[in-house]
Symmetry: C2
């Protein structure tokens, strides 16, 4: 046999653009042990199927839902697609549409294209949150779901979920909350975002983001069994009768890792991590402002700031993994692996480049 060439995964020291992070050590260890198990075939892989049930129950606790329905998805994109798919399948209309703020993740664009559903994007207000009047004007009898974001990808904002839910339900549509990134931070804030804060129907909440689980571990949660049943297809030659997931074979490592992370960190570990992340974001925003750089106030640990394209490129060339908002602002996600020291070093490079 040939020798396998070894590669070194880059470390996270200079990764400021990712919504994933270094997994909790217990989660890493558990994931490794389940790398060859397939929760997509629960009658064959019963152990990991049991772990998935425990993981969904724990996700429900975090999201304010007593008897959660759902499963561990490949990530937020799958969870968002599945929410729209369920809403489409449960609706009567032949011309389904969904309404989402322009701040919604691009996976909603993907979901609409894949599912042949019209996506109606509406403006946000000055605080980068869904404009309620615009949402009300956009919904109609063919609207199958309204999407709200709890922790937007670009500015970390939380849409007015209770008000959006009222608009959705008044229109006979489902209410889906995308908390893929924010879901493990928001329990420690005063924001109204969860199943306990409003009668929302479904949620995307990703252990592999702020849940500090290895990839792939997304979460799709639904209040009612009906939502999951709307996704089920028959499964001959599996010793289970149906499958409601978008993918077939799924990652046992993702399931075992997510459960281990949540068991290790919920709630105290996540609370401590949230406080550190937010403190780092506030520090970074303050340092930007002190340098006269226009900065978007970090409601959650995500900082956006106006930077010249040449400065951005120079920082990338200096080895920093950074990204931009659609309008070109520097965007830094203060994930658990992003230390105060890393941010100070980043600012030093910024000062050197701008001087």
């Amino acid at each position: 046999m040939q020798r396998v060439r070894r590669r070194t995964p880059q470390d996270f020291d200079r990764v400021l653009s990712s919504m994933c992070t270094v997994p909790h050590p217990d989660a890493q260890e558990e994931a490794v042990r389940f790398l060859s198990a397939n929760p997509g075939d629960p009658a064959t892989y019963q152990t990991v199927a049991e772990l998935e049930g425990e993981a969904v129950d724990l996700l429900g606790k975090i999201a304010g839902l007593d008897r959660p329905e759902g499963y561990l998805a490949s990530g937020g994109t799958e969870a968002n697609i599945q929410a729209v798919r369920a809403a489409r399948n449960l609706a009567e209309t032949d011309a389904p549409n969904i309404v989402a703020p322009e701040s919604a993740h691009f996976s909603l664009t993907k979901a609409a294209e894949v599912l042949d559903v019209e996506l109606r994007t509406v403006p946000v207000d000055d605080g980068y949150r869904a404009n309620l009047d615009a949402v009300s004007a956009a919904v109609d009898a063919d609207t199958v779901a309204v999407i709200g974001v709890a922790g937007t990808t670009e500015y970390g904002r939380v849409d007015p979920i209770p008000a959006l839910t009222e608009i959705a339900h008044d229109a006979g549509a489902k209410m889906h909350v995308d908390a893929s990134w924010g879901g493990f931070l928001l329990p420690f804030t005063d924001h109204e975002w969860s199943f306990a804060d409003a009668p929302i129907d479904s949620m995307a909440i990703d252990p592999h983001k702020c849940g500090q689980a290895p990839v792939p571990a997304g979460g799709f949660l639904a209040r009612d069994r009906e939502t999951v049943d709307a996704l089920a297809v028959d499964t001959p030659y599996l010793e289970t009768t149906s499958q409601a997931t978008l993918t077939g074979t799924r990652s046992g490592a993702g399931v075992a890792g997510a459960l281990a992370a949540m068991e290790a960190l919920w709630p105290a570990g996540y609370r401590a991590s949230y406080r550190d992340q937010q403190a780092n974001a506030d520090y970074l925003a303050g340092e930007f402002s002190a340098r006269g750089i226009d900065t978007v106030d970090p409601v959650l640990p995500l900082v956006a700031a106006s930077l010249a394209p040449s400065t951005f490129e120079a920082l990338r060339e200096a080895g920093w993994r950074i990204s931009r908002t659609a309008t070109g602002e520097l965007r830094i996600v203060c994930m658990p692996h992003v230390t105060r020291e890393a941010l100070a070093s980043f600012l030093a490079d910024l000062d050197r480049i701008r001087s």
Copy 2:
């Protein structure tokens, strides 16, 4: 922090129903090192993005394609959905349909439901292969893709791919081959199944099945860039312009593990494994026949045999992980982890139960 309760993943000793297997040690080792990398964000995780390019090139070699387009998917279901999605998006019709033999995997049913495409299933012949006359009769001007299976889930049969491709292209439809399970076995047989055997347009071929890679590692291959471009959506706030995958965040472990497995095993290791698997399947089929049990000839290492439901249940109670075909036959997949000793022990339990 709470202590994480340790679970023991079941071992594979008695798993006779799975199309996944124990990963190659090099693949396991590489996967572990990339558990927190995300090939879905290539500008941030450049190393794993480079590994994915190498993995796709190697998959192309195995599938007979010189300059392969595509990516490492979560599995065969995603690859099948993406093939149908691309065909639908490239076609002109408002009422798209796909034509597949009844032996096609249930993921085609899922793909049709998700993508709002009509699925026309046609009968198979006495050899469990797509009936060409039935396929010809089913295709029309609204057919966007014909699906052929190279290694069916129930009987391990290989559809007449060149003839199906001719029917598809004569109808102006794309030709997709589902080689999710068979793709790492067929290069060592005389079957016509690959991009080199017929002008097929796309293929599903899964490293995490007979490629002996850890989950999740599926493969989506396309002959032309056009097919992948038909799947692309814009990606603001990623430092890459578009994303053609169905999921967003993806498993770095899957990518690194798949590449390591293929580097270690292609071609000699896979050839040796195929021969052992086929010899075990022939042995098992012979033993069944010697016991007067109706058995479907294993064209590939997959054995189906008629067994009384009570006997099947007794074998499951004895701890064997086995599954059934849609018509109720016992179905045993001779994967690399299934040893001759395990099969002999299974037969001993069978004799005890039937005596």
